[in-house]
Subunit: 131 residues, 6 copies
């Protein structure tokens, strides 16, 4: 149960419907994810978030798959279950192989371990990074 | 000030010295970072961590630069100052351009925002991810 | 499934029952939430926590609704599902409107994004805040 | 040391300068905080973030002081030193009294404690919040 | 639903089967937990993690029960539901009493509260810890 | 720089002075840590927190050293620099040996790694923990 109603496509006001249609057309899908249906309680924010997502996650100097992996890495560390599921799936759609995913997980585990050890021991930042 | 002494190269026991030498030779550097000097208080763990780092962060199905970016993404979200500094620098050494870094930061910001919104509204995971 | 039994009202020892009765009477409710039933495994802690909650969350220089929003903001960032549900509901009971909740969520998203960007770039604190 | 150069006012390209001027004029200040100088490495993102901040943090159904307190609550929980300093200062500028700040801190401490206890015991969400 | 298949015992390749058998024999159990079945998608990592767990969690200068409590404390703070359940159960198997668990929870709550307050007020580290 | 003044011993009002004196006498120290000097801006909260700390951290079913280690484990995971420093020092005063600290750190690293992997793969909780 969300803390807000999920706005169904057939119940969406015109402003929301326009974003839903754009999502479906650009992504080539025929249904809207719960994330957007929750955001749609604030139509202005929905439109802005969708714009940001288009702008940020598309092809640029970094590959869209790499962007998805960075997104998932943040979501794992923030423990956002919804985001882990939806963006791991998005990464697979963008071509993530099983072997790449295994390597991704190994990096996630190593970084989490190193982060904890460094924080525990309060290792001072090396001089070279501070000048 | 760390919670443990940083083991200087000249004071390192043979077991630690061997790892230090391997780090310097494989990385082509002439000094050892504080992270390793702190870890060196537990020589067995130092050796094992260095082994893991070699195994995990090297070239595989994912590019080493991509692995560094995933590592930094975790470190940012865990707020590990040392790790952010050292692995952002490592990413630059592996060729990260300013434009790529800008895109990386935009993804970090977008994911953090989405994570917070999804968590706030307790958006239920879509059925398609659960089967 | 909790890691402790939930202490039902009819099974509660006198010390716990007294707190349960106080909760029901002060809040004008006829049932006890699971949070208190879990805490009740440590009757002394239950009593103390209930005292603290009364003392901290009541009307003072800050409005009780504002206090609930601060409480929810912490709970979202800590990703405490139970706390998000129960205190978002408490905020609504204290008068939170849909428009206020939309603005609340927008602040949550903005702060999470800014936190991530600032941490990623290790932006130094401006001198003015340090003197 | 930030991971990016801080773009000084006198070195800012026109696109950045325009945002800097708008910040100074709307806030009635004569200098630009490091946050904006770091963001300015990505002029498009700088402009968008400033727009978002105007849109989100201004007067609405919630008071700007309340919004600052929510922002600080998120920043504390994310442990963003820069954000805690700058937005606690912003809250004071918007009228936060010492007594209000004391109450704010008491709520922060209570919520963090409750979050930890609930998470530790895996307290199940009450049925009433799930329907 | 996990993001990877759980590798059942009867479907496990020899390399994985060997680890499963070792887990069952050393722990005196007759089934394998989901954690290992998920890790088993990367047989090399599975073997290494199991080795690390043996090496780290066994009897040493710290008692295995104490190690489990430290493990649970980290898992609570990271909000890892699976880990909280499995390692609270492991602590009980190692003799954790109800009274010890009550005290454990009280420490968890106190530390979380203190962490939040200290972070909120940016309390400077006392000189004595920095030399 | 803290966000509040640190209340020096000689400037403390009677209510605060009484707590300071109790801290010094019970701990056998001759100075007050910054944590208490910051908390002292809210004398009622200071008194209550000191009471809680006495009640929670003293000898009980768990040893005070074990309680300190649990406290540090939470503080590391929350990345509370002040708390890591002060409670690692407190653990040493209570007899923590170098070997115990090495084992403690190994557990911290292992738990952080396992937490990240489990969260990444969304490993479902085994049935046995849910009944």
């Amino acid at each position: 149960m969300a803390t807000v109603p999920l706005i169904a496509e057939e119940a969406a006001p015109a402003e929301v419907k326009a974003v839903y249609d754009d999502i479906k057309s650009r992504r080539g899908v025929d249904r809207i994810n719960n994330f957007w249906k929750a955001l749609a309680n604030d139509p202005a924010n929905l439109a802005r978030f969708w714009e940001d997502m288009q702008r940020v996650m598309g092809k640029g100097a970094l590959d869209p798959l790499v962007k998805e992996l960075i997104y998932v890495a943040v979501s794992i560390t923030n423990n956002c279950e919804y985001c882990i599921h939806s963006h791991t799936a998005a990464a697979r759609q963008r071509g993530l192989t099983d072997e790449q995913y295994r390597e991704f997980l190994a990096v996630i585990g190593l970084a989490a371990r190193a982060n904890a050890l460094v924080t525990a021991m309060k290792v001072p930042v090396d001089q070279q990074y501070l000048v």
